[in-house]
Subunit: 163 residues, 2 copies
DNA sequence: GGAATATCGTTTCAGTCGCAACGATTGTCA
DNA sequence: TGACAATCGTTGCGACTGAAACGATATTCC
């Protein structure tokens, strides 16, 4: 009975949101409690550790953050001395953002613990199950890729899949 | 080489957040474009369709929304005529919230399309894969359940698993 | 009964967000 | 060259958010 009622707890988008938010909150302790960083700031410095001297637009296209959000995160990071902004050498519209020594130091203090939390989560799954989980998530992305009303995926996340 | 750099796109919490947000944005079109509802409002009316005449606290404990967020969502829904608030019969501190006819009507207009979007997503997976996905997600929850620094799960989401 | 405590829903407050518009710079093309 | 369009990063604005404090009601305990 009652099989026609909408059960929020079994609704996939809700389920994903709950799990994702729970994990995000846990990870945010790692970069938030000790270093006072916010999620956009965390994503920005992580991206900078891979792609040095990039523009705001570049970050925006890679880490799933709106442009103003990146801009403000960079400003806060600059104020904190973790990042420097330099005018673009050729194109003066661009801003070349890069990590400072202090920025690298903060990153070094966060990354191991962040990876440890992730490792504890993944430790609940076998290697095969981890691959299965990622594969299933990619299949869901596949549906969204063909849905004209869904937002497109970020450049870098796609590149990750193709390799 | 470069195996020691932190790759955001492969970081599980990030991966989950990206997928979850992408799906949430897609679903939000269903209840947002035509009916102008926000995510908390959507969760509230869905919960009310299962649990009639409940309090703010009750909703807060069930649908993963902070208490003020529920309170404000209910106020907006009341202003829109989709919900009525009545003083608690016995305990005057409580507020008994329930859907109006108009609220049910809006819900009937949204649910089929929301389920259709979910069905298209799940359609990419076999029955067995759907169960596997849910099971793997539950395993991740299991790790968080034992992590004292993680937030506890909501009452209703847990009940869903035990059955 | 009555003071102290707990719980309920709301509100205040400071901070953040997304959209749109903006000035500044670069590219395009007649 | 010079006007127009495109792109860059930033900011104004209205809306939303979470933590804490609030008044109101209930409960507990002496």
């Amino acid at each position: 009975m009652a099989s026609d009622v909408f059960n929020l707890s079994e609704f996939l988008p809700y389920r994903l949101a709950v799990l994702s938010e729970r994990i995000s909150k846990r990870i945010s302790l790692v970069y938030g409690e000790k270093y006072g960083l916010s999620l956009p700031e965390w994503r920005v410095i992580v991206h900078l550790s891979r792609c040095h001297r990039v523009s705001v637009r570049e970050i925006h296209n890679c880490v799933n953050l709106e442009k103003p959000r990146v801009s403000r995160a960079v400003s806060r990071l600059e104020a904190a001395g973790l990042v420097v902004k330099e005018a673009g050498a050729e194109d003066h519209r661009l801003v070349e953002i890069s990590l400072t020594k202090a920025g690298w130091k903060v990153l070094d203090g966060i990354v191991p613990e962040a990876l440890a939390v992730e490792a504890r989560l993944l430790g609940r799954l076998s290697e095969a199950e981890q691959e299965t989980l990622v594969a299933l998530m990619e299949r869901l992305h596949g549906e969204l890729d063909e849905d004209p009303k869904a937002v497109p995926r970020s450049r870098m996340d796609l590149a990750q899949v193709e390799t």
